[in-house]
């Protein structure tokens, strides 16, 4: 599903060069639940951003679902994210002006679907994450766990081949976090979707099928 071949990502901070990824080679097969761990500055988030087509490598090749991100251009990357990748963020990143059901339906709406197609699908996912009663609430009326469930539902609404989760439990208490991890595992195992989860938390990482540890932009052997 994801191939990183000798990927380097170098940022410039003032006059200093920061090697976020330094020759990383990593393959994530379709249907795998991968946890990516490592200390701060190890390149975890960069790995996630490059996987999601949010950024491009300085050198090396990143292939997502058989497509090289370097050749797609902005429109191609936008479509890739819109149709094949679901994102789950640490800070939930829900649209504060949209109701819960609208937040979930948003990616479909962005893809040109009408309410008739998008809303039933969003409602089905709402039921799946156990928030039917919160359908017409605004994000600021939800708890952290509820917001993250909505974010996962939003990520799943497009039937993505790949779900990228950036510290999805980082802002939640452990009981709520466990519920989210169960949900992700279920998505991976029952639906065969590829999940890549970046986390600091060893306990969270254990929910994954495989753990990749990064240090200084490389796989930590």
């Amino acid at each position: 599903m994801i191939r990183f071949d000798d990927v380097r990502k170098i940022y410039t901070q003032g006059t200093r060069e920061v090697r976020a990824l330094d020759g990383l080679t990593l393959h994530v097969p379709r249907g795998e639940f991968l946890a990516v761990m490592g200390p701060s500055g190890s390149g975890k988030s960069t790995f996630l951003h490059l996987s999601g087509g949010l950024d491009l490598p300085t050198s090396g090749g990143v292939t997502v679902d058989g497509q090289s991100t370097a050749t797609l251009g902005d429109d191609g990357l936008t479509l890739l994210r819109r149709r094949k990748i679901g994102f789950v963020f640490q800070f939930f990143n829900l649209m504060p002006t949209l109701r819960v059901v609208e937040n979930i339906a948003l990616p479909l709406l962005l893809d040109g679907n009408g309410n008739g197609a998008a809303v039933p699908k969003a409602e089905a996912l709402l039921e799946r994450v156990g928030l039917t009663s919160r359908r017409d609430h605004f994000p600021d009326e939800l708890s952290g766990g509820e917001m993250q469930r909505v974010a996962i539902a939003r990520a799943l609404v497009i039937d993505p081949a790949l779900v990228l989760a950036d510290e999805p439990t980082g802002n939640l208490d452990s009981a709520t976090g466990r519920g989210i991890l169960e949900l992700l595992k279920e998505v991976s195992e029952k639906e065969g979707r590829t999940i890549v989860m970046v986390t600091h938390d060893e306990a969270a990482a254990k929910w994954a099928k495989r753990i990749a540890r990064l240090r200084d932009g490389k796989l930590d052997a």
Partner: protein
């Protein structure tokens, strides 16, 4: 505090120069408009006052009858015989030298012997024998110009000049030049003197004078007035030398009426700054938190924010001061041009900045900015940083507050309406200005709640038309109703200026056109003056012209008109005497509908003919609350005389209003049988060109006659009208720039506040085009809502407070016309400006780095 200013304020401003610039620019425009108006006002008033003083010399009194009739020369001897009086005769008329670059000159006919006792003249070369020089220079058809005027126009001594006078083209020879002293300093040097006899001959005033000017010699002015009055008896008007001119006062009033626009512009600037400060506070909430934790007091931070924006306001005001001064150089020639269409009364050769006005403008700009910063600053200080961090959601919970503000706004608007009704059209102009200003605040108070309603109402439609981008735009509007509401109010303010100006211009134009349609039942008009020189002239010709014109081949009917100005308080109104039977007959033959025809009733005709009654113009009636049936006292040669007001008519001959009388009655009461013009209806089938040529040819020997067709007269009227509305266009342009800045400011803030959301949308698959479209839709909604509000507010303002303001300030009163074409233009301009204002913010939004955006926390 200095450290806070340096590290907290100035560095923040340096990071966001565009926002500071937009804030400063919005204040600068309001200040510029005020300074331009004030400077033009001051410059014209100063130039006029200086000219009056330079021309007056030692004279303190003037003896006139009614202007236009002139004073009998015999009265001069009586005044000169008064002990303690130094008297000199004066004839004062405008003449034009068509071939020169600066053609208009005020020609003064004087008896040099007596005039030299009142005024100081100094001639070029200081003639060794003044008597000899005067004898040589003050001869028939000779004129003495100022050296300054001669140099400016390349005229030399002994040169012959073609002059357009009220008696036609004459050739005058320049027999001398005056140095810069006394009357030569008046009117920017556009002054000429000539002998009294030459002036009487040139202007057809044999045996008559415009006035006698008198200076006291060892007695008080009051004592002198009494003595001169006693010496002359009834029929003369003896008063202090007039320091006022109706034309100048009216032009200044028109200029001052534009202050209402600059006040609105400043309010719009206040809204823009309010928005800017709100966002700058939100942006720095962390810094505020840090500073507070390090020991900075709430008051210190609040003071810093106020000082920061006060400084921006001050700098914007200074820029506005400079811009306003430049703008006034555009306004002054147009405003003084409009004055001189009435009478050559002012020549401004120096634009004078009024320092008091400049200080007021800079203070107003600075304080407006500081006040705009005060409320968001207070709000920021009273909420915890965490509360501010959650402002996006925090504002949703302010719904009850928006409703309360809405009701407060409605209450204020109602209070304004009640004040207008209770004021019964007699409110002071500045009260009307205050009501207009408060109405804008009231609209701003209603803005947030209206925005919420607007967003809710338009969301389904926007979804249908623009899909997700449309509903995102609607949501964003509702997310920050306060900011959106203020921007809508700001843009609405700009559009309302456009609509109100257009409405007033259109109303005035339509009224003038309608009036010209009914006021000109004739085909040709014979005038005693050249209308290209001045719209109004006091010159006249004899009744023989009327009689002779009736005999010219091709003429079916003719009637005579005499128009003069008569004192009315400190100023003057116009008295128009018409041959009423012939006038009504011509209207009947012309088939005129409405207007003067409505007066063609036996009781009015007989009351006019007997001299008991008069008809007054609607603007005079509105200005002085005169109704049919009232009594009106007018100045006549025999003193004040009361007339019954028979009716009111629409008439725009004179800004302060006109009084119309029957000419037969006028001849009896005012002892004047001269005519200002003769209006002629051509016989059916008569060739207009040939008849006009015959009129000019056959009547030319009787007097100087200018023959005009109706289209020519209408063109002169429209030219004058265009001169007046040139000023209005400047206001409209500035208003639109301010509105545009308001939207740009709001959208930039919107994009900034939505950085994270935009990043998120991009992350989950929104394309750059979708983001751009969403920003553009939002902008167009703001602009269109502002336009709709502006159209409503503009029409309401034009219909009521602004029209009353103009009536109280300038004397114009006319039925309101809805300027449909301009409303269409305003709406189109709103949409175009909305799109244009969104381009930069939309580009910025679509180009946001997704990673930077979503990691913004």
């Amino acid at each position: 505090m200095r450290a806070l200013l340096r590290f907290f304020s100035l560095r923040h401003l340096a990071r966001h120069p565009m926002r500071a610039l937009l804030g400063a620019a919005s204040v600068a425009l309001g200040v510029a408009l005020y300074v331009a108006i004030d400077t033009a006002n001051t410059s014209i008033a100063a130039a006029f006052e200086k000219s009056v003083n330079d021309l007056a010399g030692k004279a303190e009194l003037q003896v006139t009858t009614s202007e236009g009739i002139g004073v009998d020369e015999a009265a001069l001897a009586k005044v000169q015989a008064v002990p303690g009086a130094i008297a000199a005769p004066v004839i004062q008329k405008a003449i034009t030298f068509p071939g020169l670059a600066d053609p208009q000159v005020l020609a003064i006919g004087v008896d040099f012997g007596s005039d030299a006792l009142l005024r100081m003249y100094s001639f070029e070369g200081k003639p060794a024998d003044p008597t000899e020089f005067i004898a040589a220079a003050f001869i028939p058809n000779a004129i003495v110009l100022t050296k300054r005027y001669a140099e400016r126009n390349g005229v030399a001594k002994k040169q012959q000049l073609k002059a357009a006078t009220s008696r036609g083209m004459r050739t005058l020879v320049v027999t001398g030049l005056m140095e810069e002293e006394g009357p030569a300093k008046a009117m920017g040097g556009n002054v000429a003197i000539m002998s009294l006899g030459a002036a009487q001959e040139l202007f057809g005033m044999k045996g008559r004078l415009d006035r006698i000017e008198v200076a006291p010699d060892g007695i008080s002015a009051d004592e002198l007035t009494q003595r001169v009055k006693t010496a002359l008896g009834a029929g003369y008007d003896v008063r202090r030398l007039s320091r006022k001119s109706t034309a100048v006062e009216m032009a200044l009033a028109r200029l001052r009426s534009m202050i209402v626009i600059s006040a609105i512009a400043l309010i719009v600037g206040l809204f823009i700054i309010y928005n800017s400060v709100s966002i700058s506070v939100v942006e720095r909430v962390r810094e505020i938190g840090i500073l507070r934790s390090l020991g900075a007091k709430r008051g210190q931070i609040l003071t810093t924010v106020i000082l920061e924006w006060g400084l921006i306001g001050f700098l914007g005001s200074c820029a506005g001061l400079a811009g306003g001064f430049l703008l006034s150089t555009f306004l002054v020639p147009r405003a003084s041009g409009a004055v001189n269409m009435f009478a050559f009364a002012v020549k401004v050769d120096e634009v004078v900045l009024s320092w008091s006005g400049a200080i007021i403008a800079v203070l107003a700009g600075t304080l407006t900015s500081a006040a705009a910063a005060f409320f968001p600053g207070i709000a920021a200080m009273s909420v915890t940083p965490i509360g501010l961090l959650r402002q996006g959601t925090y504002q949703y919970r302010q719904a009850p507050k928006f409703r309360a503000a809405f009701y407060a706004g409605i209450l204020l608007l109602s209070a304004g309406v009640v004040t207008l009704i209770a004021g019964n059209n007699r409110l002071h102009p500045y009260v009307l200005l205050a009501i207009t200003t408060i109405a804008f605040f009231a609209i701003a108070l209603c803005g947030p709640q209206c925005t919420v309603w607007l967003a809710r109402a338009t969301r389904p439609l926007l979804w249908r038309v623009f899909r997700i981008e449309g509903s995102l735009a609607a949501d964003d509007l509702a997310k920050f109703p306060q900011r959106t509401g203020l921007t809508v109010a700001a843009f609405g303010g700009a559009i309302s200026i456009l609509v109100a100006s257009a409405s007033l211009v259109e109303s005035f134009r339509a009224s003038t056109e309608r009036w010209m349609e009914v006021a000109f039942p004739f085909d040709v008009s014979l005038n005693s003056s050249d209308l290209s020189t001045a719209f109004y002239s006091t010159s006249a010709f004899g009744e023989d012209v009327l009689e002779a014109s009736r005999k010219v081949e091709g003429v079916e009917a003719a009637y005579g008109v005499r128009s003069i100005t008569i004192p009315w308080g400190d100023l003057e109104i116009m008295l128009i005497a018409i041959d009423m039977p012939e006038f009504f007959a011509m209207h009947r033959a012309h088939g005129t509908k409405g207007g003067p025809v409505d007066l063609d009733r036996p009781e009015i005709r007989s009351a006019l003919a007997s001299g008991e009654g008069v008809v007054v113009s609607e603007n005079l009636a509105a200005l002085d609350r005169i109704s049919p049936g009232d009594e009106l006292e007018l100045a006549t040669p025999a003193g004040g005389r009361k007339f019954k007001v028979l009716a009111t008519v629409e008439d725009y001959s004179w800004p302060l209003g006109t009084v119309c009388v029957d000419r037969e009655a006028y001849k009896r009461i005012w002892n004047d049988s001269t005519l200002s013009y003769v209006d002629i209806r051509l016989a059916p089938g008569a060739d207009p060109q040939k008849t006009r040529a015959r009129l000019a040819g056959e009547l030319g020997h009787l007097s100087s006659i200018f023959v005009y067709s109706v289209p020519q007269l209408q063109a002169v009227g429209r030219g004058f009208f265009d001169q007046i509305i040139a000023l209005t266009r400047v206001q409209v342009l500035l208003a639109l720039i301010i509105g545009f800045l308001g939207i740009v400011n709001t959208l930039l803030i919107s994009v900034l506040l939505r950085t994270r959301e935009i990043g998120l949308l991009r992350a989950i698959g929104a394309s750059r085009t979708q983001i751009r479209r969403s920003v553009v839709v939002e902008s167009v909604i703001i602009a269109m809502a502002g336009s709709a509000l502006g159209v409503a507010a503009g029409l309401a303002g034009a219909a009521w407070p602004i029209r009353l303001f103009i009536l109280r300030m300038a004397g114009f009163w006319f039925p309101l016309e809805v300027p449909w074409r301009d409303i269409g233009l305003a709406l189109a301009a709103g949409a175009v400006l909305g799109i244009a204002a969104s381009l930069a913010p939309a580009r910025r939004a679509s180009r946001l780095n997704v990673l930077d955006a979503i990691s913004y926390e």
